[in-house]
């Protein structure tokens, strides 16, 4: 509780519209800008090479030139013309969206409960949920598969998404955010005669809307790129998610890097869109989680 709520708000607002004090452009400021700009260019250089490779022919991919000799869009045409691409894209959108909604609801419900209720077993539940962050997914894949098989979940949307419907990361994040909601608000709502479900949904949730947006982006990103479980649980090409589908551009004898780069470039677009829409909320969300500790 080192920093007061008003300061969070001030912080997030200043970030939305940067208000660094206007200074005269002196030599120091110019040098600082140039250094940061150079650093920023270094940061995006690998991404530039990704895009550059997606515009190259196969025999050019080892060229060092950032600008291809004969840039072309054939790789994009090839990837997009593959009729299966749209199906994979839609599958990924559906799965990432449903999983995101589920996380937003359940992680916040659990986070809220752990934060605002005093009940026996609270600490145990918290530590137990947190401990699930410490097991690598790879080890859970086989038990999940056997479970899905006996319950008939293989090769279905439900099968792909059930492991990610709730996450410890989101629960922990939301618990931290609900700490910033003053208990007085909740007490006031109780006196007004709202039941606990209504209080959570109509009082507490709107107060952490930025956090929900941040969580939504993290969950969406995570599910958008998930690979190993969707691969194991799907059987038919129609059920593949985008990363699984794109992996078929590499085969035993030949990895078609220009196509993989193209696929990576295309699949960055939805995450970029989601990010650009919600980035203001990410920043606000992070401000609050970061400083509450």
């Amino acid at each position: 509780m080192a920093v007061a709520d008003t300061e969070f708000r001030a912080a997030s607002e200043t970030l939305l519209a940067p208000r660094a004090p206007r200074r005269k452009a002196n030599a120091g400021q110019i040098a600082r800008w140039l250094l940061l700009f150079a650093g920023g260019i270094l940061m995006v250089a690998p991404i530039a090479y990704m895009i550059s490779t997606s515009l190259k022919w196969p025999h050019e991919i080892y060229d060092l030139a950032l600008i291809p000799d004969e840039p072309h869009l054939e790789n994009y045409v090839y990837v997009l013309e593959d009729g299966r691409f749209y199906g994979w894209f839609i599958n990924s959108i559906i799965i990432a969206t449903i999983t995101t909604v589920s996380n937003v609801i359940f992680d916040s419900l659990v986070g809220y409960t752990l934060c605002k209720f005093r009940f026996p077993g609270r600490y145990i539940v918290f530590i137990a949920i947190l401990s699930t962050l410490m097991i690598p997914t790879e080890m859970l894949v086989i038990p999940w598969y056997l479970m899905s098989q006996s319950l008939g979940w293989l090769d279905s949307y439900w099968g792909i998404m059930f492991p990610g419907l709730m996450t410890a990361f989101g629960t922990f994040l939301m618990k931290q955010f609900f700490e910033t909601v003053p208990d007085d608000f909740i007490e006031a709502a109780r006196i007004d005669g709202l039941n606990e479900l209504q209080i959570w949904w109509t009082v507490a949730m709107p107060l952490v809307r930025p956090a929900l947006a941040a969580l939504a982006i993290f969950v969406f990103l995570g599910n958008w790129t998930a690979f190993i479980w969707p691969l194991i649980v799907t059987n038919s090409v129609e059920m593949y998610t985008l990363p699984v589908g794109l992996s078929s551009f590499g085969d035993e004898a030949d990895v078609q890097w220009e196509l993989i780069m193209t696929g990576a470039a295309i699949s960055t677009i939805p995450t970029l869109v989601v990010f650009l829409i919600f980035q203001r909320f990410i920043i606000r969300g992070v401000v609050m989680a970061g400083l509450k500790g």
Binding site: A2, V3, E7, F8, A10, A11, L15, P18, A20, R22, R32, W33, L36, G39, M43, P46, I47, Y49, Y62, L64, L109, V110, Y112, T113, F117, R118, F119, R122, A128, S131, T132, L133, M134, I135, P136, E138, M139, L140, W144, F162, P163, M166, E196, L197, L221, T225, I260, M261, A264, S267, T268, L272, F275, Q279, I282, I283, V287, G290, L291, G293
Partner: protein
């Protein structure tokens, strides 16, 4: 019935009502498979055949496996270099970016973009930067300056830092944003007072900015520590031909687990490694939670 309960008991009922579905979910989807993994760590199982009970054999094998100790060391090198380096670099960028106005949003975007792009594609690009001539960007540059070649990924000493660099790079933008948020949250009045007293910028940084940023710093330390202890994607994708680098010089624990499970199909041995990783993470996290509380 419900009406007759005290407020405290009503809370308990509500709490468990809210938790019922999630707790069932975690028990079935997370704890059961985890318990299963712990059980498997005492068994011999190649995924295809029957499981046979072997007692502590997998753990004994782990204890006497030189690769495991190498990997154990690597995992902590990732943690002990990666966390402070990314902390300092991210802070430096955020500190200076915070003082700029011109094209601020654009610069911030440049630093955040790597966080969003596909790890597989990016690992390949980095791998390609590190190659010797004629295809390696960095070595080509060095060679035009007449500097001898640097065998980044094929060196037993340089390979680990060479892989750590893109891992730090990918997470940097996220940390920069958190730091900037922390910096903006420091009330301007502190700085005004310092300026009136004629204190140097350096003293302001050390006496005001950094102490007030401590909660942010702790947050970043905790999250990046978990990240570096579980590093996998970058190592795996940058060393696919020889997973874990020359003579295992870059192999972290999660990669060892993955290989033991899915190229050797020694599920029991992999499970034992998972239990060890679990304990390491648990200890590190508990220590960090303690630090958080001491704040």
């Amino acid at each position: 019935m419900y009406r007759s309960l005290s407020v405290r008991h009503k809370h308990i009922v509500w709490a468990w009502a809210f938790l019922a579905i999630p707790v069932a979910f975690y028990v079935v989807i997370r704890f059961y498979p985890t318990a299963n993994a712990m059980l498997i760590s005492f068994q011999d199982w190649n995924l295809l055949g029957d499981r046979t009970w072997t007692g502590w054999k997998n753990y004994e094998k782990l204890w006497s496996d030189p690769v495991f100790w190498k990997v154990f060391r690597n995992t902590f090198v990732y943690l002990l270099i990666g966390t402070p380096v990314s902390l300092v670099v991210a802070f430096a960028i955020a500190y200076h970016l915070d003082k700029l106005r011109f094209m601020h949003g654009f610069l911030r975007m440049l630093y955040f973009l790597p966080f969003m792009t596909s790890a597989v594609a990016m690992a390949w690009v980095w791998r390609w930067f590190y190659q010797p001539v004629p295809i390696g960007l960095i070595n080509n540059f060095l060679s035009t300056l007449g500097i001898p070649q640097v065998e980044f990924l094929r060196s037993t000493t340089l390979a680990l830092p060479s892989i750590l660099a893109p891992a730090v790079w990918a997470g940097l933008g996220f940390q920069v944003i958190i730091f900037m948020a922390g910096l903006r949250a420091i009330p301007g009045s502190y700085y005004e007072a310092a300026r009136i007293d004629g204190v140097s910028a350096w003293t302001i940084l050390w006496e005001i900015t950094i102490p007030l940023l401590k909660p942010t710093i702790v947050f970043i330390v905790v999250f990046s520590s978990i990240g570096f202890l579980r590093i996998f994607d970058h190592v795996f994708n940058m060393t696919t031909g020889d997973p874990g680098g020359p003579l295992n010089s870059t192999k972290p624990l999660v990669l060892m687990i993955y290989q033991t499970a899915f190229t050797d199909y020694s599920m029991g041995y992999a499970a034992a490694q998972t239990v060890v990783l679990f304990l390491i993470l648990l200890i590190v996290s508990l220590v960090q939670l303690r630090i958080l509380r001491d704040r």
